[in-house]
Symmetry: C2
């Protein structure tokens, strides 16, 4: 009945949607690649990554390439589940409109 009842509030943000979408296809993506793919400022990206992490949807790996810091982000099982659920809800909504 309510076409938006099953949409996940966390994924209302365009940028968070984008992050999840990128992390669904790429196992691990670093900060800069995400930043370039989504065309956002670093501060903005960092804060959205934060809320995704706080919700347990992504994991952060802080490592090094040689002695240079390298932070990568990956989707968690919970994140994958939540995102897929959201996509299903979106698909239902889309189907509903046709």
């Amino acid at each position: 009945m309510n076409p938006i009842g099953n949409l996940n509030k966390i994924f209302e943000s365009r940028i968070r949607l984008g992050v999840m979408s990128v992390l669904m296809v790429n196992n691990e993506v670093n900060f800069n690649d995400l930043k370039q793919m989504l065309e956002v400022t670093d501060g903005n990206l960092a804060s959205h990554l934060n809320t995704l992490e706080e919700n347990g949807y992504i994991k952060v790996y802080k490592g090094f390439i040689g002695r240079k810091t390298n932070t990568t982000y990956a989707i968690t099982t919970a994140g994958e589940k939540a995102f897929k659920g959201h996509l299903v809800a979106l698909e239902h909504m889309i189907k509903f409109t046709k």
Copy 2:
């Protein structure tokens, strides 16, 4: 490349998404029906309807049933186009993640 580059900012809102979705399948829907379908407060709905109208995505028809006011909302051609574009962008994003 950017999976969220073509998403329409106006449709980031869950409620506006819902309104458009409902108006895609029903030619004309009145205020109260929308309110019940989307389970929102009237003030909140009114303000979202306002931004949709300001953007030319919906039309408002103020009429009467007998002598009782009856306001209905319908999607415009521009609204349909914009919403369909957004759905295509969503579908691309979804396809991208699979």
